[in-house]
Symmetry: C2
């Protein structure tokens, strides 16, 4: 097992070669680390900035052995890492951060909400269903409209549908693939907020100022940070973050999506055990961004400062929106971050801009 | 030949795999470019964060052909690029920035000073000598003490010696290797300053605020920026930068080392046709740092803003000073930049820190 803090020159492993892996790899390089990326695609955004690319599925035993031989610690750019991959790495003596318990909680929407409620963190009312009859029964008891989501997988609005009438629940269950689901009561929120939180190996925590987020079709379009919120709300968000980090014995950066309700309460919508799209504003709004913070945490380094030094409007560049790079590059207040993806499919996250404003 | 502005996804070539190449590669990646590094060492700081590493000497025709096949434009992390390498690349249809004329001027201390004076930019008095007798004659005419430097090569104080008495000049000439030299009158300066300047392919220029620099044993230890200077001095430095950039028909970032004389004049000590150690403060003191600025310029993008958003004290970490990373990582105002060099030889630049202060 590695000894912490990991010295510069050590190799950090990253499962996943997308934009989050890429920005993690760039942050790791700045601190003098080498990076090894495990990714199915030999030509990936993260692989192209990493010292080593291992090509394989995330649970490929040969690739994991190669990764274990290189890396002192392994982290991930997404939550749906197969549990067996983490167990294999641990068996090979490699530390994985965040740990398998945090992944297990975040991978299952029912476990996630159960964990949150048990930690004293409020969520919308929910029920689980494993077959169509259970889905109808739960929907009837809770009352429609309801949001039905697969318990596992799904991101950017995929794997979820509205149930307008309880009687439809069986049909929606089948449309989602007849897999275990969660039914969620609708949240009468006034704003979607998020908080990016970090916890080090020493148990120290740090949170960034809240971001206000705007989604379209389930995909994040825009974040504004620091969000204009009352000190009481900011305190409450911090308390929520602290409970979650501690409850998961978490190491690394965690994204927490929140609903700000009409009555002023904060409900947690979901947690992501990784750097988070709503935290991209920290790249140009904070001295230490979420990517360096995550590297610091998993490497056992002390956490860095999280105060905002600028106000940022973060806009995702989806699909061919990234073709506007030449115009965006001319805007003096706009910092451009492009991911090096080869193909601009509709809705695909190709990059983002951080537009700077005075605090 | 490439068409400008180069779209993201294009490959930029970098000759040289050290820390400057590494930080250029990281900046290029942020803008969505791929990087190909040509470097003698298969395991280099820049190569480890680049999509492609070509192993070879800088003038290796096979390696240059491989680079030309990959890269739309080639740039360099140091001024002593063999002229034949640039000519080979150009013959293969690859644009090189900065161009061969700028490199030729910067590679020869005599051509450099002649160019500066011809451009209306003041330097110390100087003479050239090709043999020991010429050296003695020049030293006798100018009067000792004098600084004798090889015309070519030499960096961080290497390749130069003081001539205390004119009669010693022959001996010093031989000690420097009996190669063509320049003799420079001592500069009675009160401060060493530098200005990082950039010029785009459209001829637009941008300069960063002046830095105040402190050397030890010929090696930069510390920069403070923005330096406290009068508006008149800042204007004069900008005028000097504009003349040099225009005179060289320059594309990219250029470092200009200045002497602030007791009488208030600014003399140019030397120019470096590349990103510069005294510009590292821009990474944490400006919205667009010198590395992104250089990438923008060579890619034909518009230049970014250069105003300071923080005051920075940049400290080089030489040799085993980088072993203090764990302590430095605990300082909230300190941003750490480590280069991933494998071996900490005495005096070797292993990393730097930017200590942030309010403007």
């Amino acid at each position: 097992m590695a000894r912490f803090p990991l010295p510069p020159g050590s190799t950090l492993g990253i499962l996943g070669g997308g934009q989050l892996g890429r920005m993690l790899a760039l942050a790791a390089a700045r601190l003098g680390f080498d990076v090894a990326v495990l990714e199915r695609d030999a030509d990936s955004p993260a692989g192209r900035v990493a010292a080593h690319t291992l090509v394989g599925a995330y649970a490929d035993p040969v690739a994991l052995e190669q990764l274990a031989a290189l890396a002192s610690v392994v982290t991930y750019e997404f939550e749906n890492v197969p549990a067996e991959a983490v167990l294999t790495l641990q068996r090979l003596g490699v530390d994985c951060a965040p740990g398998p318990e945090a992944l297990a909680v975040a991978q299952d929407r029912v476990s996630e909400k159960q964990f949150l409620n048990a930690s004293g963190v409020a969520t919308v009312a929910f029920a689980s269903a494993d077959d169509a009859d259970e889905a109808v029964a739960a929907a009837t008891q809770m009352g429609a409209p309801l949001l039905m989501k697969t318990r596992r997988e799904g991101y950017d609005g995929k794997g979820q549908r509205w149930v307008e009438h309880a009687a439809q629940a069986g049909e929606v269950f089948r449309a989602l693939g007849s897999v275990p689901v969660i039914l969620e009561a609708p949240a009468d929120f006034v704003r979607e907020l998020s908080i990016i939180a970090a916890r080090g190996r020493d148990g120290a925590t740090a949170v960034y100022p809240l971001a206000e987020n705007h989604h379209e079709g389930g995909i994040l379009r825009r974040s504004l940070a620091p969000a204009r919120v009352s000190p009481a709300l900011a305190d409450e968000a911090e308390r929520i973050a602290a409970r979650i980090l501690k409850g998961l014995d978490y190491v690394g950066v965690l994204g927490i999506e929140l609903f700000e309700m009409r009555d002023g309460r904060l409900l947690v919508n979901e947690i992501a055990p990784r750097v988070h799209n709503t935290g991209h504003w920290t790249q140009d709004g904070c001295e230490v961004d979420q990517f360096e913070q995550h590297i610091r945490a998993v490497a056992g380094w002390p956490l860095g400062p999280t105060a905002a030094v600028a106000r940022v409007e973060m806009l995702n560049l989806l699909g061919d929106e990234a073709d506007a790079w030449a115009r965006l590059a001319r805007e003096p207040e706009t910092r451009l971050h492009l991911y090096g993806k080869r193909e601009a499919k509709p809705g695909r996250k190709m990059g983002h801009v951080n537009k700077l404003k005075a605090l």
